[in-house]
């Protein structure tokens, strides 16, 4: 499961992109390739693109290492697109993308919107909130209604685990999970992996400490699965009340002491602690939480000197992370946001190849 190689020979996925600057792929891959193998890979760039083998992106679970690498490679190219003056591709021209958000989100929704627009899709945002649930319309009703409008891609965020899977069963288009309850948030994990790979040159063998509220975090779940699949050495760090049952069997070493958990870490990934969980229900107080689990320079000093700090946002400064760390030299937090757009472009593009009349299918 942790073998990330093998598929790389087919990872010539983005070759149809005319904007890709030559040599962009020389990004070191984390798949343990021998140099010879890498050259074979390079020469394969003109081979036909491998079709992403899934119609939906519902979670990281179920994706093979090849699939993940394919998406990351494609995202690397999307980064270049976003850095041009002309930030446009025509991949999704004529396609309709609906961002269906049952849970408020600024950055994820904006990120998906930009991603869709940069690929030329018509993007519509729907923030359902809880109002239409109160009106009595079920998720399935909403899905059927939208489906009748013939979208090509639906991006869904919902407060209930499994809701996106449920919706995917009822519609004809491709569905992307933008976060479902405490289950998964696959594009966040992909953007985190992309950020890591671009900064460290690899993922395999890196020590990644995921810190904070693991229990309620879909980001932690998706990251655990993805980082394990790509061969990282994953740790989770947090108070026992915020660690899920059986986490030790999910491919993570468990620490309840931040200093031990961060020791020699390459990547420190902080998670947001929801306000309603700070006042005695899961942890006694913000003050106590920050004392033991907030990332400050003293705790960060236990990690490797070149360790990098990440946070999926939005941050609670002074709760899980000190301001000077969040804005400091080791912080990748702003870069994560940029990678977010790229990864979402990659996902939209990969899934769009399954759509009817797609060039890749034809």
């Amino acid at each position: 499961m942790s073998q990330a190689n093998g598929g790389a020979s087919r990872a010539s996925f983005g070759q149809t992109n005319p904007h890709r600057p030559s040599g962009a792929r020389i990004e070191p891959l984390d798949c343990g390739l021998t140099p010879l193998y890498s050259r074979v890979l390079m020469s394969n760039l003109t081979a036909p693109g491998r079709l992403f083998p899934h119609r939906h992106l519902l979670g990281i679970e179920g994706l093979a290492p090849d699939d993940l690498i394919q998406l990351l490679d494609l995202a690397d190219e999307a980064v270049e697109v976003s850095r041009q003056v002309e930030k446009k591709k025509a991949t999704l021209r004529g396609r309709t993308q609906i961002n269906l958000f049952f849970e408020a989100s600024t950055r994820t929704q904006a990120s998906f919107e930009l991603a869709g627009k940069r690929l030329g899709a018509d993007v519509m945002n729907m923030s359902v909130g809880s109002s239409s649930i109160k009106k009595g319309e079920t998720l399935i009703d909403t899905a059927m209604t939208l489906n009748a409008m013939r979208p090509d891609l639906i991006v869904v965020r919902h407060h209930s685990a499994g809701a996106v899977q449920l919706l995917a069963r009822k519609v004809d288009c491709s569905v992307i999970n933008a976060g479902d309850g405490q289950h998964e948030h696959p594009t966040q994990a992909l953007l985190d992996a992309l950020t890591i790979r671009r900064n460290k040159g690899r993922i395999r063998g890196l020590v990644v400490a995921i810190c904070g509220d693991i229990l309620h975090s879909r980001v932690a779940r998706s990251n655990l699965i993805l980082l394990n699949a790509l061969g990282a050495d994953v740790r989770v760090v947090g108070p026992s009340t915020l660690l899920p049952i059986g986490i030790e069997n999910m491919g993570a070493k468990v620490f309840t002491n931040m200093r031990e958990g961060l020791k020699d870490a390459d990547i420190v990934m902080m998670l947001r602690l929801q306000r309603e969980r700070m006042n005695g229900s899961f942890v006694p107080s913000v003050k106590e939480y920050f004392r033991y689990f907030g990332l400050d320079s003293e705790k960060l000093a236990h990690a490797k000197p070149d360790a990098l700090v990440m946070h999926p946002g939005p941050m609670n400064r002074g709760v899980e992370i000190a301001s000077d760390i969040a804005d400091g030299a080791q912080s990748l937090i702003r870069e994560q946001v940029e990678m977010g757009v790229a990864v979402r472009m990659a996902v939209l593009e990969a899934l769009s190849r399954h759509l009817p009349n797609s060039e890749a299918r034809a």
């Binding site: 998720l139 919902h158 209930s160 499994g162 449920l166 479902d180 405490q182 059986g246």
Partner: protein, 431 residues
């Protein structure tokens, strides 16, 4: 009472839970009660005017007695009515159903019990007996009129799927009920510990991102109840146990000689948490489906007799309440019609003998509520079913008689089809 035409069922495989025997032979019914059964009956000379039924070698047993079903009346007729529940039960070989009090209004008043008893006589082909609430409004605060409700026909007292959190209320109810020899049936779950949980707490719940309910929510409540039974001497039945640790508690209580019994739902007995897989909402149940180890313990509990009864926990839920994201949908699954064939899985797997299974499905539940049913005995009501335990089929929910189709056995391969159901010597279902 008008005399009924005598019935003679010949050429049957008779399974009697009381004597735990299996015999080839015939069974004679007169005036709606069992007159005689066994090898000795002369099948060639039926009484004059008798209806002779050829059993064709199929299994003839007492009809099932189900101590836990939600039937919708009054107040939730869109989910189930007495007549639809009755048709489902008859098709599933269930001849006596005890209805739960979580109706609207709840069954906490003798007038509602009376209404149900009379309406069941009109609408139901099978025997439908109401259970009454243990506390007023099922709110867990003040006990109901246990004496009057019992006189009106309530067979036991329970707050249905709600637990009585207050130990003082439970203590008083157990103490008071003892004077009427009334049975108290309790849903064992500590509401605070289970709060927010939607499935068994396990590695799987962590993976699915669903809040879990620990087994301790059940065992803590059960331990408390057993202590109160020891204190009061009231008759107590744990409605549905779901984990191995609960069976240890029950075993100790029984060893001590306390008046304690327990049941298990057919779902807990035949399914486990892995069946939830891709958030299948029809498997969202209370108590939640546990792991396979717990399920195995339940099967052994039935085989050893430690678990007294198997219930369907029939709970019809419509599209509105079930076609939602897992955490948001209602608990419950229908079960009246599939209880027998699902339970036969335990026989086919070699874990439980057929007579033992029929004890848990018919004899023991009948005994708990002092019914003469559940046995092949001269003078017992002729509530009987004829079925082929081996006949295979794939369950098609559209063929079910319940008003709701939320079956966890959708598309499942099952064995055992009921060909005839008889209540008081009258045929109420034939297939």
């Amino acid at each position: 009472m008008t005399t009924q035409r005598p019935v003679l069922i010949i050429n049957a495989h008779l399974v009697d839970p009381l004597t735990a025997t299996e015999t080839q032979g015939s069974l004679a019914i007169e005036n709606g009660v069992i007159h005689a059964w066994g090898r000795a009956i002369d099948a060639s000379a039926p009484p004059e005017g008798a209806l002779v039924i050829d059993g064709r070698g199929r299994t003839l047993t007492p009809g099932l007695v189900d101590l836990r079903a939600f039937v919708g009346e009054p107040g939730a007729e869109h989910r189930e009515t007495l007549s639809s529940a009755s048709r489902a039960a008859a098709a599933g070989g269930v001849t006596t159903v005890v209805s739960m009090p979580e109706t609207n209004p709840p069954v906490d008043d003798p007038a509602v019990v009376d209404y149900l008893v009379r309406r069941a006589r009109e609408k139901a082909g099978i025997r439908l007996l109401p259970a009454a609430g243990l506390t007023k409004g099922l709110k867990g605060k003040e006990m109901t009129e246990i004496g009057l409700l019992r006189e009106a026909g309530a067979v036991f007292f329970t707050d249905g799927a709600r637990s009585v959190a207050n130990a003082q209320v439970m203590r008083r109810a157990l103490t008071y009920a003892r004077d009427f020899d009334a049975l108290i049936v309790h849903h064992i779950e500590d509401a605070d510990l289970a709060d927010g949980g939607v499935m068994n707490e396990s590695e799987l719940s962590s993976r699915l991102g669903l809040p879990g309910i620990p087994r301790e929510a059940e065992t803590i409540m059960l331990e408390r109840d057993i202590s109160l039974v020891r204190l009061t001497g009231g008759r107590y039945h744990a409605a549905m146990v779901s984990c191995a640790a609960s069976l240890d508690i029950i075993a100790r209580a029984k060893q001590e000689g306390l008046p304690v019994t327990c049941g298990v739902s057919i779902n807990t007995l035949t399914l486990n948490e892995n069946d939830i897989s891709t958030y299948r909402t029809f498997l969202k149940l209370s108590p939640p489906l546990r792991g396979e180890d717990d399920r195995r313990a339940m099967v052994e509990g039935v085989a050893s007799g430690l678990i007294d009864v198997i219930v369907s926990d029939h709970n019809p839920q419509d599209v509105e309440t079930k076609r939602r994201p897992f955490a948001e949908c209602a608990d419950g699954a229908i079960g009246l019609e599939t209880m027998l064939s699902a339970a036969l899985r335990l026989v086919h797997s070699g874990d439980v003998t057929l007579p033992r299974l029929m004890q848990a499905l018919a004899l023991h539940p009948a005994n708990l509520i002092n019914l003469p049913q559940g046995r092949l005995l001269k003078g017992a009501p002729a509530d009987l079913i004829l079925f082929d335990p081996d006949e295979p089929f794939v369950l098609n929910p559209d063929t079910l008689h319940s008003r709701c189709k939320n079956t966890p056995f959708d598309g499942a391969r099952l064995q055992g089809r009921v060909h005839m159901t008889m209540v008081g010597g009258r045929i109420v279902h034939e297939a």
